[in-house]
């Protein structure tokens, strides 16, 4: 369970480029829930995810995961509980390491790393089996550098890596945005499958209203650093993209003519 309370964060305070990225952001996600997050550019979605993962320290407010206060913990200490897939397919893997080395790194996420060999035969078989489920032929390329893979392939491996080790929270920040439509659909499908399989508590940022309504059990909209819309259950089932856009307009109090929001 994630409990973020009254998070505030201002970039470059006291300067002309001061930006209040989070302004009283409060959100509670019960264990096992899959939440999609939408909002216009600059709404604070990435900042919120970064605050939860520890990459951004908040000015005030608290972040709890399963009752443990994480607010002041560094990224690497939170990694025990939080798994992530980045928007940039290159960001989530180490291009200089092989596929199996990347997976070995993720297999030990949040654990003490000792002096035993990172890739042992038993692990290699586990990785091979996992990769085979992708149907991309990667199970035969375990010792290839991951830098040789395409963005979509790397993103798919990143997702597998996120699920190699149990976590209390999975953070996905537009993780299909950099992929071509077919690969994006594949990675999204894989996401849904993995989340269901491991019953992961998940927060997924997306710019596609369609996607936001199609996957997960709940949708929240951020605007100016706080939650302005929060729908789930029956109310959400009755929604379609147009309803969502109407609400989007209403909360913003301004007309949206950004077609990009309709795409997808």
């Amino acid at each position: 369970m994630l409990k973020a309370t009254d998070l505030r964060l201002t970039f470059n305070p006291g300067t002309p480029i001061e930006t209040q990225a989070l302004r009283g952001m409060t959100l509670e996600i019960p264990t096992g829930q899959f939440v999609t997050v939408i909002g216009s550019n600059g709404a604070g979605k990435s900042t919120f995810l970064n605050a939860v993962s520890g990459e951004q320290r908040v000015d005030s407010g608290t972040i709890e995961i399963d009752g443990i206060d994480m607010t002041r913990q560094p990224v690497w200490a939170r990694a025990r509980h939080v798994a992530r897939v980045f928007q940039d397919p290159l960001a989530g893997t180490c291009e200089d390491l092989t596929i199996e080395e990347n997976m070995a790194l993720a297999k030990m996420r949040g654990e003490r790393r000792g002096f035993s060999f990172a890739v042992k035969p038993a692990l290699r078989e586990e990785f091979r089996a996992q990769l085979a489920t992708l149907g991309l032929g990667l199970e035969n390329r375990l010792s290839d550098r991951i830098g040789l893979l395409s963005g979509g392939q790397r993103q798919a491996v990143s997702l597998l890596m996120a699920a190699l080790q149990p976590s209390r929270l999975l953070l996905l920040d537009e993780h299909t945005a950099a992929l071509d439509p077919r690969t994006a659909a594949f990675v999204l499908e894989l996401t849904v499958r993995i989340v269901a399989e491991h019953k992961l508590t998940t927060m997924m940022v997306t710019h596609s209203m369609r996607q936001a309504l199609d996957v997960g059990q709940r949708t929240v909209m951020l605007h100016q650093g706080r939650v302005v819309l929060d729908v789930s259950g029956k109310e959400r089932e009755g929604l379609d993209v147009h309803h969502l856009l109407d609400m989007f307009e209403k909360v913003r109090g301004e007309k949206i003519d950004d077609d990009a929001l309709l795409l997808g």
Partner: protein
């Protein structure tokens, strides 16, 4: 300036056989083995530089201070009557501490990596003088790890490179093994993609400290061995060490390009030896007319060429392709 004549029989003073084998144009076997000896010692430096510059992507100039630090500690301890093996070990640890401090300046005090290493490098100049108490500590009749282990039947100029081959190979195999452990992998991940490493729970600050300590420990070891083969330690013995180390890495990478770690470490060692042979060749060919004091200039030119050639090649082939 005995130290500058590296590779030309610095130990002949110690009373060893001064029998010169037949000349192999343009170098005698004696010179060849001397070059191999120095090349092997500098391959330890090169491995250290490979760890900092390539694996951690930390441009570390501490090396120019940790190399003479190793020499200073070893020579001073041996001259004071300590066992050469203990002295070499302490010199190695001293190198590790130097690397640790550079890492700490960067990780904790947030000083830019290059600057942190320069600060440590100049600090070490004073520290090395303090350790030695004078600009140089000669080792003429004192025992060294080399003459303690040397069998009766082998000449010293043959035995030294032979022993060094074993030391360097052992170090290489240990590094290969370590960097495929969980902890070693964390260091490589930190250098390759620190954000990802943190997201996987790697304490990247600690990884930098560990990598820097390991890197400079190897350099300290090299300095200790250098002092014991060249008849002592000198305050100026570190000048240009980093450039020589980098040269070795670059030469090795262009001779044997590979991303596989066990091949990369071989390449770096070969690079150090090949580089040293070129230097010996240049210094021993009268028609080129170079002298020992030109060494740093030659190295700088060589590294520049090695850095520019791949770019030019890419440029040319890019033009052809277009």
């Amino acid at each position: 300036m005995r130290l500058a004549r590296a590779g030309r029989g610095g130990r002949s003073l110690a009373g060893a056989r001064v029998v010169f084998p037949p000349t192999v144009f343009p170098m005698s076997l004696y010179t060849l083995l001397g070059a191999l000896e120095i090349g092997l010692i500098f391959s330890l430096v090169a491995l250290g530089v490979y760890i900092s510059f390539r694996l951690l992507r930390f441009p570390d100039l501490t090396v120019d201070g940790s190399f003479p630090l190793g020499g200073a500690v070893a020579a001073t301890m041996i001259a004071a009557g300590h066992d050469p093996f203990t002295s070499t070990l302490v010199a190695t640890l001293a190198g590790a501490v130097a690397g640790l401090i550079t890492g700490w300046l960067n990780v904790r005090l947030k000083i830019m990596d290059l600057l942190a290493s320069i600060l440590m490098m100049i600090a070490l100049y004073s520290i090395n003088l303090r350790i030695m108490g004078k600009p140089n500590v000669p080792l003429i009749t004192e025992p060294t790890v080399f003459n303690l282990l040397q069998p009766e039947t082998l000449a010293d100029y043959v035995f030294r490179p032979l022993l060094l081959v074993f030391v360097v190979l052992a170090v290489k195999l240990m590094l290969d093994a370590y960097f495929s452990t969980q902890s070693g992998l964390a260091i490589r991940a930190t250098g390759s993609n620190a954000r990802m490493a943190r997201a996987q729970g790697v304490n990247t600050g600690l990884a930098v400290l560990a990598g820097m300590a390991l890197s400079n420990a190897l350099v300290g070891l090299a300095g200790a061995l250098f002092a014991q083969t060249q008849g002592g330690a000198d305050i100026s013995m570190g000048v240009g060490t980093i450039v020589i180390g980098l040269a070795a890495v670059i030469v090795g990478e262009s001779l044997l390009p590979s991303r596989k770690l066990y091949l990369a470490t071989i390449a770096v060692i070969v690079g150090a030896i090949v580089y040293r042979f070129f230097i010996a060749l240049a210094l021993n060919s009268d028609f080129i007319g170079l002298q020992a004091q030109d060494l740093n200039l030659v190295t700088a030119v060589l590294v520049t060429v090695a850095l520019v050639v791949p770019k030019l090649r890419a440029h040319w082939s890019g033009k052809k392709g277009a």
